[in-house]
Symmetry: C2
Subunit: 281 residues, 2 copies
C-alpha cells in the first residue's frame, strides 16, 4: 500500500484524496495551520492527519499538491525544505513555466517531479474528471488512481505538458465566461442591455442563458479564478500569444471576489459589480 | 422618392444600398478613387454613380457611411467639408465615443446625425440582418428600409446606443472566436493539441468543430476585424471595463491579415500563423 501526502484538502483536494484512497492508497494530510472546514473535509474523505508537515513528508512516498495557483511554489518550497525525496506531483492550474519552476524546486531537494493538471469538478463518480500527468514518473502516479473515480491521463512532452492542457482548457472555459460577462456589462453600462438581449434571442439563441449561468456558477468561485487567469496570461505570453484575454479575465473575476461565501448573485447584480459607477452618474 | 448617398459599396455597403433601393430609394455612390471591384458591386446593386463626392453630397438627402471602422471619421470629415446639411448615418462598427465624434463632425457642418450599427451578414433575404439606429432622426432613417430585406431597429438612448449594441454583440462573437483560436494555438505551441482535442471531445463536444469554423470563416476576414476589435477595446475602456480581451483579439486577427484574398487556410495553418516560431526552435 502506497502512502500519499495531500497538500491540501480543499474542495478539490479532499475529493482527489478520496479518489486516491479508492485506488488503494493511504492518504495523509497535515492539520498544521489549516481551518476547521479543511479538517472536516479531510475527515469526510477518510484522510489521516499526519500532524505537522515534517511528519507527512517523512511518511509519504508521493506528495500531491492541490492548492490555489499562487501558492504552488510556496507549497513546493516548504516540502523541499524538508528534503522530500519521493515523487512530488503539482496538480495545480499553473503555467507550464511555473510547473517547471516547481519541478526545479523539489528536484533540487532530491524528489522526482511529475506535472499535473485537473480538468472537471471534484471527482465523486467516474467519468467527470481527469488528472493529466506528464514527466518521467507520470505512469507510476497514474497507476495510483487506476481503481478510483479520478481518471489519470498521461500526456507526452515532459513537465509542463499536463499544465499546458489545463491552461488551454481553462483558458477557453473561464476566459470565455469572463468575456461573455464583459459583453453583457458593456451593453448594460451603455443602457442597451435589452436591445442586446433581443438581438441574441434572434441570432444567438442560448447566449443569454449562458450569460446567466456564467454569473450564477462563477461569481462565488471568482476569487480562485483570478490566479488561474494570471497563470494563463503568463502561459500565453510565454508561447508568444497575446496575454490580454486572460489579464482581462483576471480583472473581471477580481471584481467579483466579493461574492466568496456570499449568496449567488443574479446577473444584473454581477453586471453592476463589473462596471464601476461613473463619476457624476 | 428619397435620394441616399452610400459611402462606400463594399460587400456590406453594396447590399445595404440594394436594401435601400428595395425600400424605394434612389441610391448614389461615388466612383472617385474607388476600385473596379467596387464599381462592379455598385452596378450589381443597382446604385447610380454620382461622379465626384461633391455631386453625391449635393444630390443626397441622406448619406449612409458603411466603411471600415478606422475610416469612419475620415469619411465624415470629407462629407462635412462639403457642407452636407441632410441626415448623416454612420453605420460602422465603432465605439459609442467614436460615433459621437463622427456626429460632432457632421453636425458642425449642419447635418443631422444618426448613429447606426449593422448586425448580420450582407442582407440578401429578410430576417438575416438588422440595422440598429439611434438618435433623433433614427425613425425617419428606419422608414427608408421598411420594404427591403434589411430590418431597421430603433434603439433608445441617443447617438452611441446603436454602436453600443454592435460593440457588445461583435465583442462576444469576434472576441470569443479569437479567444478560441488562441486557446488552440497555446495547446499547439506547447505540443498538447491532441490532448486538448481529446479532452474537448469528452467534455466540450462541438468545441473543436467551432474552432475549425472560427479559422475557416474568420481568417480571410481577419484584416477587417482588427479595427473593430480596437474600437471594442476602446468602448470597454470607456465603460470602465478591461480593454484586454479585444486588444488581444485585435492582435490575433492582425496575425491573420495575410489571408486577405488568400485561399481559406486549415486550422493547423492558422495556429502556426498565430504563434511566431521560437528562437532556436
Amino acid at each position: 500500500m502506497k502512502t500519499i501526502g495531500l497538500l491540501h484538502p480543499g474542495e478539490m483536494g479532499g475529493a482527489v484524496g478520496a479518489a486516491a484512497r479508492a485506488g488503494g492508497a493511504r492518504v495523509l494530510w497535515t492539520s498544521d495551520a489549516r481551518s476547521a472546514a479543511t479538517r472536516e473535509r479531510a475527515g469526510a474523505a477518510g484522510l489521516e492527519d499526519a500532524g505537522p508537515l515534517a511528519a507527512l513528508v517523512r511518511a509519504s512516498e508521493v506528495i500531491l499538491s492541490v492548492c490555489p495557483p499562487h501558492a504552488a511554489a510556496d507549497v513546493a518550497r516548504a516540502v523541499a525544505a524538508l528534503r522530500f525525496a519521493g515523487t512530488y506531483v503539482d496538480a495545480n492550474a499553473v503555467a507550464p513555466a511555473t510547473a517547471r519552476e516547481v519541478g526545479g524546486i523539489v528536484e533540487k531537494a532530491g524528489a522526482r517531479f511529475v506535472d499535473g493538471g485537473i480538468i472537471g469538478p471534484p471527482p465523486a463518480a467516474p467519468g467527470t474528471t481527469r488528472l493529466y500527468l506528464s514527466g518521467a514518473g507520470a505512469g507510476a502516479v497514474a497507476a495510483l488512481f487506476a481503481a478510483g473515480p479520478l481518471e489519470a491521463v498521461v500526456v507526452p512532452g515532459g513537465p509542463g505538458a499536463a499544465s499546458a492542457v489545463k491552461m488551454a482548457y481553462g483558458g477557453w472555459n473561464k476566459g470565455s465566461a469572463a468575456l461573455l460577462l464583459a459583453a453583457c456589462a458593456l451593453a448594460a453600462a451603455e443602457g442597451v442591455g435589452d436591445a442586446l438581449a433581443a438581438e441574441w434571442a434572434r441570432s444567438q439563441p442560448g447566449l443569454a442563458a449562458r450569460a446567466e449561468a456564467a454569473a450564477r456558477s462563477n461569481a462565488r468561485k471568482a476569487w480562485r479564478f483570478v490566479g488561474e487567469m494570471e497563470e494563463t496570461a503568463a502561459a500565453c505570453a510565454a508561447a508568444g500569444l497575446p496575454a490580454g484575454f486572460h489579464e482581462a479575465a483576471a480583472e473581471i473575476y477580481r471584481r467579483l471576489e466579493r461574492y466568496k461565501d456570499a449568496p449567488t448573485p443574479p446577473l444584473d447584480e454581477v453586471l453592476r459589480a463589473l462596471v464601476p459607477p461613473r463619476p457624476g452618474a
